[in-house]
């Protein structure tokens, strides 16, 4: 099962996105959140803990969506530290739209590569 991890400087933003993903994906989805615990910000330890938690909840592979900057760097560091390369990927995608596209793909049986591709493709979906 592919888990989805939402990483944001703001815990409320990550939690809000997770809520949206569960609501919009239209199927059973394992979603985790990381970032913004006491103050705004993300570090690799927070992301590492969230990755471990998703694995405990049954995610054999994890697609990670992050907002920007240090969230992105922290995800890359955490994946490297946990030696999850290949099983967990940071998807280069817009945070909200990419995570929605990736979640829908995961729920409909897509592989981790499909989820990442769908997330990246969200950059190309214009709003007008």
């Amino acid at each position: 099962m592919i888990g989805i991890l939402a990483v944001s400087h703001s815990r409320r933003l990550a939690t809000g996105l997770a809520e949206l993903l569960v609501g919009l994906a239209g199927g059973e989805l394992v979603v985790g959140v990381a970032g913004g615990v006491e103050t705004l910000g993300v570090d690799a330890a927070m992301v590492g803990a969230a990755l471990a938690e998703l694995e405990e909840r049954g995610a054999s592979e994890i697609a990670v969506f992050a907002d920007l900057g240090s969230a992105v760097f922290s995800v890359e560091s955490a994946i490297e530290l946990a030696e999850l390369e290949g099983r967990a990927v940071l998807v280069d995608a817009p945070f909200v739209e990419g995570a929605i596209a990736g979640s829908m793909t995961a729920v409909t049986g897509g592989s981790l590569a499909d989820v990442a591709e769908a997330g990246e493709a969200a950059y190309l979906v214009r709003k007008r």
């Binding site: 570090d43 690799a44 760097f73």
Partner: protein
């Protein structure tokens, strides 16, 4: 470089970061969220505790500093310094001392890591503007047979100048990049704190006896 010098470097870095905390915050206030000094100071306080267990060897000590920075600095700086130091640790010998060439090799691994992770090039107004030319000068000096304390002294001055030169640049990486032209006219806080590391290196080696 032996472990005592290595730890002196980090203690001196902690002190100079703490002393410049408000200045670093003020630099960050202009183009970021005003917490670079506070974040680095908090992380360094934790990091120097890694030096409280002497004789652990250079690699073990460097790795402990890396983990402390990864979990306490936060922000882009924490991830870049932390993951860079993990690569530094992997490149430096496990022994309690290393040659100048081995030290330069570890700095090279650090710089490769921050470039891989941050994707910044020279002139993007980031810590790379200090670390990349400093690495080149360090390696060239070691290859030419210059003594490490002498190289470090040159680098302390040069990196301070390189950090100040980021003032005229437009940020192309990091959150400041969203400001575009409005990022010009401010020194990059990450470049400035990076120059303080080379100042600390110079001070740590200046105390070398004999």
């Amino acid at each position: 470089m032996d472990e005592a010098e290595f730890c002196r470097l980090w203690h001196l870095f902690q002190e100079v970061i703490d002393g410049n905390k408000e200045y670093l915050n003020s630099l960050d206030a202009a183009i970021g969220d005003a917490d670079h000094g506070t974040n680095m100071a908090r992380g360094m306080e934790k990091a120097v505790a890694a030096c409280d267990q002497p004789e652990g060897g250079l690699r073990v000590t460097a790795k402990a500093i890396a983990m402390a920075m990864l979990s306490t600095v936060g922000g882009a700086s924490g991830a870049l310094w932390g993951s860079g130091l993990l690569k530094f640790a992997a490149a430096i010998p496990e022994a309690v001392a290393c040659s100048d060439r081995e030290f330069a090799g570890a700095v090279d691994a650090f710089v490769s890591s921050i470039r891989d992770r941050g994707k910044a090039n020279l002139g993007d107004k980031t810590m790379v503007d200090v670390f990349l030319p400093a690495r080149d000068r360090l390696i060239a000096g070691v290859e030419a047979g210059e003594a490490l304390p002498a190289i470090a002294e040159v680098l302390a001055e040069a990196t301070a100048a390189w950090a100040l030169e980021t003032k005229d640049l437009i940020a192309l990486k990091g959150r400041a990049a969203y400001l575009g032209e409005r990022s010009r006219g401010h020194v990059d806080p990450g470049a400035f704190s990076s120059s303080l590391w080379f100042l600390s290196l110079s001070r740590a080696l200046a105390e070398r006896s004999g």
